[in-house]
Subunit: 178 residues, 2 copies
């Protein structure tokens, strides 16, 4: 997921590690901060795999920087990951949001729609957080307000996203206008 974010940000423009760090922090950092010890090894992995190139430059404000450039290889890898994400990328909210942030880099609207449809299918399958044996339990059954809140919030979230998914899919499926 971190690697996806790196590839995604570099798709727009070359960046150095420190800049990347602030952007990644803005995107997912308020939820789960990214440590230096995670970012730099990830950059190294991607460079070793030929997905990006590093070029040393004198630092603008201080120490010298290593500018990162996405290669053709890297761009293809980004598109692969966006077009055909793992199930976990669809279901896990953090991963899904990262995917969404860069989905515009898929050029074919049909590919984009396919990804959205997978998320739609995931959200539409009924799930309960708690069971009484095989029987799913509704929010109202819980005497404690916390589990009630859990279910209430989850419901509201799902509802908001479903609405957005439906309108966006409709727009993607009818590209005739404008």
């Amino acid at each position: 997921m971190l690697e996806l974010a790196i590839l995604g940000f570099l798709r727009d423009q070359p960046l150095h590690g420190y800049d990347l760090r602030t952007r990644v922090a803005a995107l997912m950092g308020h939820v789960r901060p990214v440590a230096d010890g995670t970012l730099y090894p990830a950059i190294k992995r991607l460079a070793a795999a030929g997905r990006l190139l590093r070029k040393d430059e004198p630092g603008a404000a201080a120490a010298p920087r290593r500018m990162l450039y996405l290669t053709q290889e890297g761009q293809e890898e980004l598109e692969r990951r966006l077009r055909d994400p793992a199930d976990l990328d669809i279901s896990d909210e953090n991963r899904w949001f990262t995917l969404l942030a860069f989905l515009r880099h898929l050029t074919d609207p049909e590919d984009q729609a396919n990804v959205l449809r997978r998320r739609l299918a995931f959200l539409e399958q009924p799930t309960s957080f708690f069971y009484d044996g095989p029987r799913p339990m509704a929010a109202e059954e819980f005497p404690d307000p916390f589990r009630q809140g859990l279910l209430t919030i989850a419901r509201a979230t799902t509802q908001a996203e479903l609405t957005w998914l439906h309108t966006t899919l409709a727009a993607l499926d009818s590209p005739t206008r404008t």
Copy 2:
């Protein structure tokens, strides 16, 4: 987070690993499935730390089971984790939901309210996912519908949770009635 869930479920009743597996899967599995290779080592860790006891029993339907009992130690550990969660437990949605699922096990309403207040403070701090230099960018500025959706959904989610937090905190702060 897995360990919190294990301690939380065992707080209600003794369970064997397989049963625990289905409950954990219901709680967080639709988002991020838990592998056997994660669950059993976690049980082992908790047992080694004296937080739970294992007792062999003949299996009800098939192979023998190892019943898991929460110890006094384990109960205290659960309460510690609930009362004084790490920042990541507050900010990361998956972790936060897990915490919420077992927050009722804190006996003091003031402790519960404190945890909710931390989440409230987190949600109230302004965050933007994307920046143009130092300037945060609003949803409307994005030409692509995916980043727009990202911000729209995030906003709706936050709104729903804030509403719930305010009403629940009000209820916790005025325990005079009933």
